[in-house]
Assembly symmetry: D3
Homo-oligomer: 283 residues x 6
């Protein structure tokens, strides 16, 4: 779902009083322009960029779909309209595509590595997104084949150490369930014992936080021995990076969540080129 007013706010951030260079230097005319990939990867942000260009009366032909794999040189969008409008939107569109495709590509890449090891394990994002970009960042994760995880503080229970400092696992789960049965209950634990208690009390998801692969393995064994492994979804989290992810992926877990998916983003390179050879009309 495109929130067009939010996208327009990005343009107004970039041009509070308009694009003075184009206003001063460039007679307005219609032209054709192309947005092209300059790297290989999973593309994202085309829908948002197209909506923005269209808001400023630029026609858009989509030559690639969000979530598809593109290669360096591929044309993604073909644009026809006022050169003033195209240059006004250019940087914002490239910033959106660059960030979202960077997230999607990285998600896809790590997911591919995990799948080679264990097809039953999914890669999840966290709430460590850029402020104001929660939905775009999570959408990029989905387009890259990742699991979005909790979107906000409002859509799932996630009981952490700060909650458990005040109340017991059993009590916390009971209270959450009493509040609403329509949302899953996840508990973050740091010990085998707490994992067992959480499972026994009916947690839907258990996050094994900051455990070594060995500790995770022992916890799984303990859960299995008590017949609790299949009653819960197991997520491992905390300090896992590409070097160590393989050691977790081999285990009988369901989810590996990594904050870096959205907080440490590598931009995906795209550019916009105007075709000046086309016959154009001064507006």
């Amino acid at each position: 779902m495109i929130k067009i007013s939010e996208l327009i706010s990005f343009i107004e951030e970039d041009a509070p009083s308009g694009d003075i260079t184009s206003l001063a230097v460039l007679p307005d005319k219609n032209c054709r322009a192309y947005i092209r990939a300059k790297s290989n990867g999973v593309i994202a942000g085309l829908e948002e960029s197209a909506a923005l260009f269209e808001h400023y009366n630029v026609s858009v032909k989509k030559l690639a779909g969000d979530g598809s794999f593109v290669r360096d040189g591929d044309t993604l969008l073909e644009l026809d309209g006022s050169i003033h409008s195209i240059l006004l939107v250019e940087r914002t569109a490239l910033n959106i595509i660059g960030r979202m495709s960077g997230i999607a590509t990285n998600t896809w890449r790590i997911t591919s590595e995990i799948k080679k090891i264990n097809s039953g394990v999914k890669l999840a994002a966290t709430r460590k997104t850029a402020p104001g970009l929660r939905n775009l960042d999570k959408k990029a994760v989905i387009l890259g084949g990742g699991e979005p995880h909790r979107n906000t503080l409002s859509d799932q229970f996630l009981i952490k150490d700060n909650h458990l400092a005040v109340t017991s696992i059993a009590d916390a789960i009971a209270k959450a369930r009493a509040f609403s049965v329509y949302k899953k209950i996840e508990i973050e634990v740091e010990s085998q014992g707490d994992a067992v208690t959480a499972a026994e009390n009916g947690a839907d998801i258990i996050m094994l936080d900051n455990m070594t692969p060995e500790e995770v393995l022992k916890t799984i064994d303990t859960l299995k021995s008590r017949g609790l492994r299949d009653t819960v979804i197991l997520e491992v989290s905390g300090g896992i990076n590409e070097d160590t992810i393989g050691e977790y992926a081999v285990l009988d877990i369901d989810i590996i969540s990594i904050g870096a998916l959205t907080h440490t983003v590598t931009n995906f390179d795209v550019n916009l080129e105007i075709n000046h050879s086309l016959k154009t009309v001064i507006l």
Copy 2:
């Protein structure tokens, strides 16, 4: 300048219907909490975080100042207030500090490397920021000792290839100057000849785009031979990274601008801990 409504919008993004876990599980009480650095670097985003906590009636004591160098373990903010409010703001505050400090730290690190080579060269950011975060990203660059460069399309002329495809350098500069003399005129050029023409026509800043160090050197020599070097600010840009930056920094240039400063950010690790041992009062 803190835009408090923008900061609040980040909270509303993260909790459209409130923090259901705390609401369900945790009796509201006053507590003390600490935000601590988990890495070494230049800290940023404390002012914004403090403003947010204070908006939700949490008292804040600042133990470090934005722009200062902090070490892993340093306490940055001491918080006193409702545990519900502290947990509501926690993730947003950490996301702001994490991103801004990541940018500030990276800016400071690269700037330090440049300064070792040539104290006359500054590191500049670009408009390749996260959508919606232009001001926070640029502020982080400044706190890291960087040059913010053009903030928006409205505050400087930057004449690029798409403008020059339609008009000449001389004409573009003349039109920009006629539009307003209160804003600097920068031209992006890709050849020595264009650099000379730009300088001859009174450009304030010349961006040497995608040139090799050798090409930059020749361009500087040509400008010097015509007595034009000191009439302009020289910026080099385009595909420069940490491996190659030294080859440019030795040259007689003024600015090196790098998009990655804000589009490819490494999060700075911070956390929030609640002191549960303190005597607390159920609200």
Copy 3:
């Protein structure tokens, strides 16, 4: 979580150019005023009203807590401040309290009736709220002891007939689970067969829609006979009112959801009185 800008927008709706009667007729002075209940019931909206009065610099002493049972004549809030400000906020505050307490009281009343019959059954609201008032309406349901159910289209899967016209139950559940394991999957069914299929395929919640008590009973029996009853939460919905609710409440179900809880609201009567006998100071 109070969204103060939303509450202020209600005042600006009610006074786009200020309260002209008070401006014209009434010298501004400080006074004390009381908000009092004029009926018996579960009160709600005090937190929101207090936040609004405080925004306009009126001091508020809370004499009752949201969610508590109050009686006709009970004083709820004691206000001290500018009479202009108190009259500016009066109607909006009373409208908020009136609607929210109406919802809370009705929820509490019906819940009490259900509990007499079957303490294991909860009363749930739906998304049939007043446009723009989702959070306030749902909060009122919670304060009245109800189950809020899905808050938005974003926080739970609810697969309905329009989805199932295109895809099978098994396929829909599989796709939802593949999209995210962090949100519960509910399916709306109108037949015993579909209920069994949904349970077999791992639905978390099954909504028995527009079934008679007899049909619900048979469906439960069938699920039980296959050992599926305890694997799902059972919600009954559709055309249930206070006359018929008892026939459902006796059954082995978990939830009864009723749209009327929020779409057909009876206002709870409250008023505001100014104490003119107190010594006041012309501002």
Copy 4:
């Protein structure tokens, strides 16, 4: 006048991160859908609903007009467009139509009863509307044949007891008139004497508040005996309901105002059905 940004905000309230069920389960395709009445009454909210669907690129054919009387089963809107968009808007549109038509229908019904007794008396709403829905609620009253009364604190003088505690009737009217002659002056009175004083001092409208029919009758007689009846509009208000309204409607009054018209609303039942038999195209 449709405020489209306000309507869109209702959608964003209902889908802060999109409609995850449709995204996960349903391939997007074009389809046709119908909104149909499920009760008899005066319909309202079609204009707002149509504007919302059109904003999300769904074509709308209006088969009934706001303010017309419709019957159970009547088709109100025919929709053609993306099934994702139709399902995104569905609940919000139904909530708008349900509330507005509920108000319009009730207004029409009570007005009809009054007209049978006394065609000179109109039924008026108050400012006791749902917060944020003032304009929609008042529009529904107008569509139902009611008198909207004062829309806000800014568009009419209404002098109440809290004003009169500080100043006299004569003084208050004089001050209001001095403030502006472009807005009518209404006074709320609770005694015959005050009614006479108000009329003598040139009030445009007198609200007889919380009077029994006998008291109203005596007040009218007194006003008539002094030749003041025809100089003012007489409104009766306060605790009037459908059981007692007839006792007031027979009197020589102009307006009966009832808060319940907008604060105690019975939803009007409408639904949306998708025609799955039509040939559809996967987008």
Copy 5:
């Protein structure tokens, strides 16, 4: 009623990325500053300016009240706070005071001239205000002793030639009255005959548009001869300026309205001075 978010938006308009001069040049410190009048006249905008300074944590002592007459050199506000904050708000506050006081002073001056001639005539503003400043412009008129007239299209009926081209005076008045009796009905007429018709049909206010003083006189005589003069408020409007206003003011009219009051504004000169001699503390 101060709308603080609107006032803050003026600051954000003036400093989209902060006040770079102060940030770069000036260590932040506390200081005292004064806003002083540089002309004689009726002051306005102090309440708005004070609210803005206070929002940015600057303490304000009001030394003059809105609507009072001040002289060149009078101190209006005394400010204590961060010099960064004071300079941030300075220009916006001065622009608000300058415009509002300019309007108030001009209103007061022309009103004074009218009162010398005919104390029964009031000077009214129109809707010809600066876009976005309706409330501030109208408030300034009120502070200057003027009549604000209709504030918006929503708060009064004003039937003009474009309405009367489609319907008759009698019909238009009847329809307006049927729509709502709570708002006054004004008719703009250009002939004696229409004025009589309007009065006969119960218009509350008649605007004699673009008539010469002689035509107005004749119209009044005609109305008087039919006993209609005292049933209506008479407003003259259209092309009246300070040279001609005296010719209208002598007549038996109630209101003279002039668009120039708000569309052709002369700024009132005020300035802000910082007291650098006070001992200040670097923040």
Copy 6:
């Protein structure tokens, strides 16, 4: 760049609950209307007005371009659409055109006078604009042939007496340059000595504030004698009006800036007429 949401907010300001006169009195129908100039001058605001009418589905044919010279009687816009929509937008559109054309015409007129004396001198606006109308006011200045000057506190350094009370000219310039080389540095000075110091230290622009023509002349001579005249742009400002502007324009300066261009505006007269003779269709 049109900010459509800002323009719509002007309509919502003028009609918070719609245009009740048209709603009550006028059947909606399509009609044609014209906006015509009623004076001679440089027109502005047509682009904004057209965007507003089009937002409300009124077709617009532009018969004049912003910035062109028009004469009394010239048709500027031809409108086709719903009479309700045209009347809804009418006043806002006329207010925009009236203010912007007033500014543009005055700018053009004074600029013409200056050019007769000295073609090298430009007329500049200041930040003394109507709150909220910075961009529209500055755009009008540009359309009138003026120099917009600094748009906001964020886009240029302007070092004033309040900054220099704390730091020296040399230091202030150095700090500004260290902050960013991408923005020009202007210094406001009141003495020859400070002008020289500013030029010696590399100021880009020197504003000679509140100097007599003689003082300006001496300052220029001093700068010339030191070879500094051509290194800076010279702006004169402060108390210059149309009577005295000629005395400055003869001097070797670059810019004369006048706050009155935007703070003391004379409205440009335009009107809107509906062609009632055309065959129209009741909607």
